[in-house]
């Protein structure tokens, strides 16, 4: 077990990737586990480079960490960030048996592989890499000779992936996008509500927050000035400042609760 550069790299990157993998499985927030697995992937890329596979290491970072994990983050940030796990277990004791199975799998594999591959010679890729002038050229030669069919099959696979994703998520707009002319016509149609732009929230009021309705010249509140999303949420959000004599009272009352 000679202490050489590669062993140091293996210990650091291997340890970090195991920590990352555990972090990914155990972390509460989904985005944290996405970050942990991105860390695992970068460490694996370094291990590939240590195994004289520089092209594969770069591809791992560009395709896997750069694109696949980016898709995960996009979906996580907009979909399931706060959907934490429901703790009810549909199968009794699923958590316990899951962990037991995982540990048993690890022991089985390491035992099996350890005994069978113990004395495998480490030929190393020096010769293979230089045969065609470098790692990338070697891979290119292989792709375009032995693995040509797989290469074209991945193209077909990507067609189905692309089409499937677009069909699943992209909803065809029922009516074509309304042009500027149609929008203005619809705005002035009868019953379409307030054609002009509404008074800004907080105008003449003592507070410039968005949920403070403007006060009309005759003293009553202009509810239209509160933007629709705030109004649709619940009426308790709309703060009427006319009754409160000073803003300080309001701020302190909010500090208490």
């Amino acid at each position: 077990m000679s202490i050489d550069g590669e062993l140091v790299v293996f210990i650091i990157c291997g340890g970090l990737s195991v920590i990352g993998a555990l972090g990914m499985v155990l972390s509460r927030k989904a985005v944290h586990s996405a970050l942990f697995i991105a860390m695992v992937m970068i460490n694996l890329a370094i291990l590939y480079i240590a195994n004289s596979a520089p092209f594969l290491g770069m591809v791992q970072i560009i395709v896997y960490t750069g694109a696949v994990m980016m898709l995960f983050l996009f979906v996580l940030m907009v979909v399931g960030v706060d959907s934490s796990d429901s703790l009810i277990e549909t199968i009794r004791g699923q958590r316990l048996f899951g962990i037991l199975f995982g540990v048993a799998l690890a022991i089985l594999l390491i035992g099996g592989i350890g005994s069978s591959l113990g004395d495998k010679p480490d030929i190393g890729l020096k010769a293979a890499n230089d045969e065609f002038g470098g790692n990338v050229e070697g891979i290119a030669n292989l792709i375009f000779s032995d693995y040509l069919f797989a290469f074209q099959a991945t193209a077909a696979l990507l067609i189905t992936a692309g089409l499937g994703a677009v069909i699943l998520t992209h909803r065809e707009a029922w009516k074509p996008k309304a042009s500027q002319k149609e929008l203005s016509v619809a705005r002035f149609m009868v019953g379409a509500g307030h054609p002009g732009n509404k008074p800004n929230p907080g105008v003449y009021a003592r507070h410039n927050a968005v949920n403070t309705p403007a006060i009309l010249p005759d003293g009553s509140l202009a509810l239209d000035s509160v933007p629709e999303p705030v109004r649709s949420r619940d009426d308790s959000l709309i703060v009427d400042h006319r009754a409160v004599s000073t803003v300080v009272e309001l701020v302190e009352s909010e500090d208490q609760n």
Binding site: H32, I61, L73, F74, N135, G191, P213, D218, S220, D240
Partner: protein, 447 residues
């Protein structure tokens, strides 16, 4: 001029490696401060004002003092922020920005303190891919900063600028393909060695133009900086950042600008090779002079960034996403086809250069005219749809047209039956308040 053999890289003594790394780090920080100052001066000169000239000689220390000022500003971490990710995002951005410079060549082999070494930190067969990989790790800083700030404006800003950087990263990657085709390798020093006779910008002009446009989009700069536009999303992904964490994003943006300019100079303008008139002087490409040529080329690109920012108005988000997806990518794909077939015809079927040029020109002309005709056809179709829909708008949908009452299709509206019209008027009456002292709860219209 010794071509780049990999024998040179990886054999430097340890102190040389540290010296080179510190030199690159120092040069980058100084170059960033200089670029910030230079940008503010040039933009102000273009707008008939003077720009920073108080601090230090001609205002040169202005950006340094800005850095210190930012250090002493209060550190505001919003209550709703996810603190761990909030701290990691600027670190990722800044570190990725510096790391990309490890493979940029500054000069030929030169002797430093008696040791023969190339003026480049390191190089390996896939170094340009390394820069792409570091760029895609750098994008993490953007998206995490947006998300971890907690509120919706930075999240939207972060998602939008990430989507933009992603779209322009493809065009950038595709423009590399033509360069690798001609250089036969992906290592930066090899590419420069192959540009000795003629620069790639000359023989691969479309790739060069596509790269320059995607360079601007990749760094969220100039006409494509909508996610950080004041009017649009307040500050984009770094709205909630303050003091030195904000400075980290600022530093990362400017270093990214220098990195993509250095990459452009390396891949297309022959890195440290002397430009034409100076290259006649025989010792132009030997010794320490090439660093000057490299710096001039990078400053040329940075001046282009600044010029764009000072003159061009900001594009709308859907316009430059459309530009990124629908114009840059097809153009670079078509260009790769043309270049690849031209090379195969020249090597395997021994076409003469002159025939290839004619064939290439014909193909490009056909493509251009084809896309132009397509554009006209689709415009005409669009106008036809619009006018047809206008008639449809005027004639209200009649449910009883076929004798049997038919429900309206989505997008069609039922004719206004009298009852609805009456209800509409009563709603209108509500808006004019009946009395002075009505409390807000009664105000909600009961229609």
């Amino acid at each position: 001029m010794s071509g780049s053999s990999f024998g040179f890289f990886g054999t430097d003594p340890w102190w040389m490696v540290i010296l080179k790394a510190v030199a690159i780090f120092g040069m980058l920080v100084v170059l960033t401060l200089f670029t910030i100052w230079w940008e503010r001066r040039v933009v102000s000169r273009m707008q008939n004002r003077i720009g920073p000239n108080r601090v230090g000689p001609a205002g040169l220390l202005q950006s340094l003092m800005d850095g210190f000022k930012l250090a002493f500003k209060e550190e505001i971490i919003p209550k709703s922020a996810h603190v761990a990710v909030y701290w990691i995002a600027p670190v990722i951005s800044a570190t990725a920005a510096f790391l990309a410079f490890a493979v940029i060549p500054f000069g030929p082999t030169v002797s430093i303190f008696g040791v023969e070494t190339p003026l480049q930190l390191t190089d390996f067969p896939v170094s340009v891919l390394y820069v792409l990989a570091i760029a895609s790790v750098g994008v993490y800083g953007l998206v995490l900063a947006g998300w971890s700030s907690g509120s919706t404006y930075p999240l939207l800003g972060g998602l939008r600028s990430t989507a933009q950087v992603i779209s322009y990263e493809i065009a950038m990657g595709l423009s590399f393909v033509a360069v690798f085709l001609f250089a036969g390798s992906m290592s930066t020093s090899e590419i420069i060695a192959k540009q000795q006779p003629i620069w790639f910008a000359v023989i691969l002009l479309p790739s060069f133009l596509i790269y320059v446009t995607s360079m601007v989009g990749e760094t969220n700069r100039a006409p494509f900086d909508l996610p950080e536009a004041e009017g649009e999303l307040v500050g984009g992904f770094h709205t909630e950042y303050s003091s030195l964490k904000f400075a980290m994003f600022f530093l990362a943006e400017y270093i990214n600008m220098v990195t993509v300019s250095a990459l452009a100079a390396t891949l297309f303008l022959g890195g440290w090779l002397a430009p034409w008139p100076i290259s006649l002087w025989d010792s132009a490409n030997v010794g320490w002079w090439p660093i000057l040529w490299w710096l001039l080329k990078v400053q040329l690109f940075i001046f282009m960034f600044i010029w764009l920012r000072a003159t061009l108005p900001r594009l709308r988000y859907d316009q430059f996403m459309k530009f990124g997806w629908k114009i840059l990518i097809p153009a670079s794909l078509a260009w790769i086809f043309i270049v690849a077939t031209a090379r195969v015809f020249r090597d395997d079927f021994a076409f003469s250069n002159q025939q290839l040029l004619i064939a290439g020109a014909v193909v490009i002309a056909v493509l251009l005219i084809g896309s132009w005709l397509l554009q006209i056809r689709s415009d005409r179709k669009q106008a036809a749809i619009e006018s047809e829909r206008e008639q449809e708008l005027l004639v209200p949908f009649d449910a009883m047209a076929g004798g049997h009452p038919v429900p309206p299709m989505p997008g069609q509206v039922l004719a206004y039956t009298p009852r609805r019209v009456l209800a509409a008027q009563s709603v209108a009456a509500q808006v004019i308040p009946p009395a002075l002292d009505s409390t807000p709860t009664e105000e909600t219209p009961n229609a």
